[in-house]
């Protein structure tokens, strides 16, 4: 049936659709491939003023290094500037943020879905309002306090702040996920004499992983992609990747080492690329979960 509907499309419409999809595909994917390709060139090729085909064939790179591909940018970023340390910091931050925010978010989201009281609605609305607050505004609230207590600049501070900023979103997502697990399951366990926590522990935890993994992906993305919190709260030696890239921009434009920043940008994109490759289904279902609920 559906194929017969498809066959009836006039040729002009078909061509139009293909062209449109093609243009969007180029818009979405081309910048990434262009930058990946360019990251193995020298700056004169990456920003090729004389002849734009230099960016493809790398003539200046070949003049300098003998081959049209060079790892000079990566060498500069990782060896000379120690970008790997920022990578390790990012890993620590993401791992801790995901673990902590899922632990407390799961408990909270589960409680919200099983309570049935009127205040649940207000708690969810409050969480929505918290979600809408600009993070910069919150950070400017922390700064004087953190300076006073001497906790500014350290990874644990940034982790706790990111966990808290993450909570409203995590709660919403896990709440709507737990709503979809039948209440009869834990009710039955409670009838058999379990406390609420035991019911959660033995009945809900074994079946909650799909929703938790999806929520965890988004917590990871939030922590990984954060710029505001990490750039304003971490000091120079504890920087994660994103604020370090921003710092590269300040210093490298003067030194003429833009390629360090390009190499760092490409390196920081690779984990996201892999993530989307393996978890595309979960990401799509997570994005639409909130929408379907309205």
């Amino acid at each position: 049936m559906s194929t017969s509907v498809k066959d009836r499309k006039p040729l002009g419409l078909k061509i139009g659709l293909w062209a449109f999809v093609g243009i969007w595909f180029v818009c979405a994917a081309f910048p990434f491939f262009w930058t990946l390709w360019g990251s193995f060139k020298v700056e004169l090729d990456f920003f090729s003023i004389a002849d734009w085909t230099n960016a493809i064939f790398g003539r200046n790179t070949a003049d300098t290094y003998g081959t049209p591909f060079t790892l000079a940018g990566y060498d500069g970023a990782f060896v000379q500037e120690g970008f790997w340390r920022n990578g390790i910091n990012t890993m620590i931050v993401c791992l801790c943020v995901v673990t902590i925010s899922l632990t407390i978010g799961t408990l909270g989201g589960y409680a919200l879905s099983r309570s049935g009281q009127k205040y649940v609605f207000w708690l969810l609305i409050t969480a929505l309002m918290f979600r809408a607050l600009p993070q910069v505004a919150l950070v400017s609230g922390y700064l004087p306090v953190f300076f006073d207590w001497n906790v500014w600049g350290y990874l644990p501070t940034a982790i706790i702040v990111l966990v808290a900023i993450n909570q409203p979103f995590t709660l919403w997502m896990l709440h709507s996920f737990f709503e979809s697990i039948p209440k009869d399951l834990d009710e039955a366990a409670k009838v058999d004499g379990c406390t609420q926590f035991q019911a959660f522990r033995h009945v809900i935890i074994p079946v909650m992983w799909p929703g938790v993994i999806t929520t965890g992906l988004f917590s990871f993305l939030l922590a990984y992609n954060d710029f505001i919190v990490t750039s304003l709260i971490l000091n120079e030696s504890n920087r994660t990747m994103v604020p370090q890239i921003a710092a590269f921009l300040g210093t490298t434009y003067t030194e003429g080492n833009v390629m360090f920043a390009v190499a760092a940008v490409v390196s920081a994109t690779v984990p996201l690329f892999i993530l989307v490759m393996f978890f595309q289904r979960q990401i799509v279902s997570g994005l639409t979960a909130g929408a379907v609920k309205g």
């Binding site: 659709l17 999809v21 969007w24 818009c27 979405a28 994917a29 930058t35 920003f47 734009w52 960016a55 407390i104 408990l107 909270g108 409680a111 009281q117 609605f121 708690l123 609305i125 918290f130 979600r131 809408a132 607050l133 600009p134 993070q135 910069v136 505004a137 919150l138 400017s140 609230g141 922390y142 700064l143 004087p144 706790i160 702040v161 966990v163 900023i165 909570q167 409203p168 995590t170 609420q196 992609n225 710029f227 505001i228 304003l232 994103v242 890239i245 921003a246 921009l249 920043a261 940008v265 994109t269 690329f273 993530l275 989307v276 490759m277 595309q280 994005l287 639409t288 929408a291 379907v292």
Partner: protein, 342 residues
């Protein structure tokens, strides 16, 4: 669930949100009402063989004591809100009195830093949001008509601009539309003006920031609408076909009404996110041409001397802006809730 059990389950996340979201709001409000103490100065006269000289020195101990006694600083009331860097009441009144047309008044207004940031933020929010919804819908309809294998591939590549770190995404685009980048050169070639540069032109900079905003958020609208398209009732669509509806009429009268709640959802999320736009301005190094409310706060916070009071004041004003933006939604939810309760 008993209130007691609920409390223990909910306590950790509530504590996190209270301490790090609710408390900072109180903190910025307090900071915006106080300014730091000025140093206590002592004026002393030194008389020597060549006459007397007056010198002023900072009385360190008195300053320390004052700061210890009143750690919040000097109470300033609403004066920071009305100063030139923020709402600039005096300047606005002056501009209103002296300018002879509305256009001239807005031009005066755009010279004030806060209103300039506000102007860009609102333009960005209200231009990006509708455009990205339209683009996302068009992509969803187009991709939905593709072969199954191709759909997966398209979704994968469409997700990239949205998933990638905003700062990184904006840098990737910026390096291409920079006057030395491949797109920048193409634009200069098409416009037949080799000196055309993004960094030199405010309208061009605004346009490229908005293009970035649409590029990075259209995938979100696309994915949500694409999921919605899978649930369009097939029998309604078929009866519309039997009734002789054209393709466009099917979309207009069956598909779009079905997706209407999703449009509200996407619009709400995107209004919230676009209102706090920051990363593209940093990535595009656009501070000279476009400031958003967020980047305005950042430049206060990260300057040589941190202007905490000024940043806090802008933060409070931004929070009020978000509240106004969200108020239609909140009112509607409140009505629904009241309606549902009866």
């Amino acid at each position: 669930m008993k209130h007691r059990t609920f409390f223990w389950f909910f306590a950790p996340t509530a504590a996190a949100m209270l301490l790090f979201i609710a408390f900072p709001i109180v903190s910025v409000v307090m900071q915006s009402l106080f300014v730091p103490h000025e140093a206590v100065l002592i004026e002393s006269e030194n008389c020597g063989p060549f006459g007397c000289t007056k010198s002023t020195t900072v009385d360190q101990s008195a300053t320390e004591q004052l700061r210890a006694e009143k750690p919040l600083g000097r109470f300033a009331g609403l004066s920071i809100y009305t100063d030139r860097g923020h709402l600039a009441f005096a300047e606005v009144a002056e501009a209103w009195r002296t300018s002879d047309s509305i256009g001239a008044f807005f031009k005066e207004l755009s010279d004030l830093p806060f209103y300039r940031a506000m102007g860009f933020t609102l333009t960005y929010t209200f231009v990006c949001t509708p455009l990205l919804i339209i683009l996302g819908f068009a992509i969803a309809v187009a991709v939905n008509s593709l072969h199954r294998r191709l759909k997966g591939l398209m979704i994968f590549f469409s997700l990239l601009p949205m998933i990638v770190t905003p700062l990184i995404g904006s840098l990737i685009l910026f390096w291409m539309i920079d006057s030395r980048g491949v797109l920048g050169q193409l634009i200069a070639y098409l416009a037949d003006d080799p000196s055309l540069s993004l960094k030199a032109s405010t309208p061009l900079m605004w346009m490229s920031l908005i293009v970035y905003g649409i590029w990075s958020s259209a995938p979100f609208a696309f994915v949500v609408f694409y999921a919605g398209l899978q649930t369009v009732p097939q029998d309604t669509l078929e009866s519309a076909q039997i009734d002789g509806a054209t393709r466009w009429q099917q979309i207009r009268f069956v598909v779009i009404p079905h997706l209407a709640p999703l449009v509200t959802f996407v619009a709400l999320i995107q209004l919230m996110d676009n209102f706090r736009v920051l990363e593209p301005i940093i990535g595009f190094q656009a501070e000279a041409h476009a400031q958003s409310l967020s980047s305005f706060i950042i430049s206060d916070l990260s300057g040589e001397t941190q202007q905490l009071s000024s940043a806090a004041t802008t933060s409070v004003l931004t929070i009020i802006g978000v509240a106004i933006l969200l108020s239609p939604v909140l009112v509607r939810t409140w009505r629904d809730f009241r309606g549902g309760a009866h």
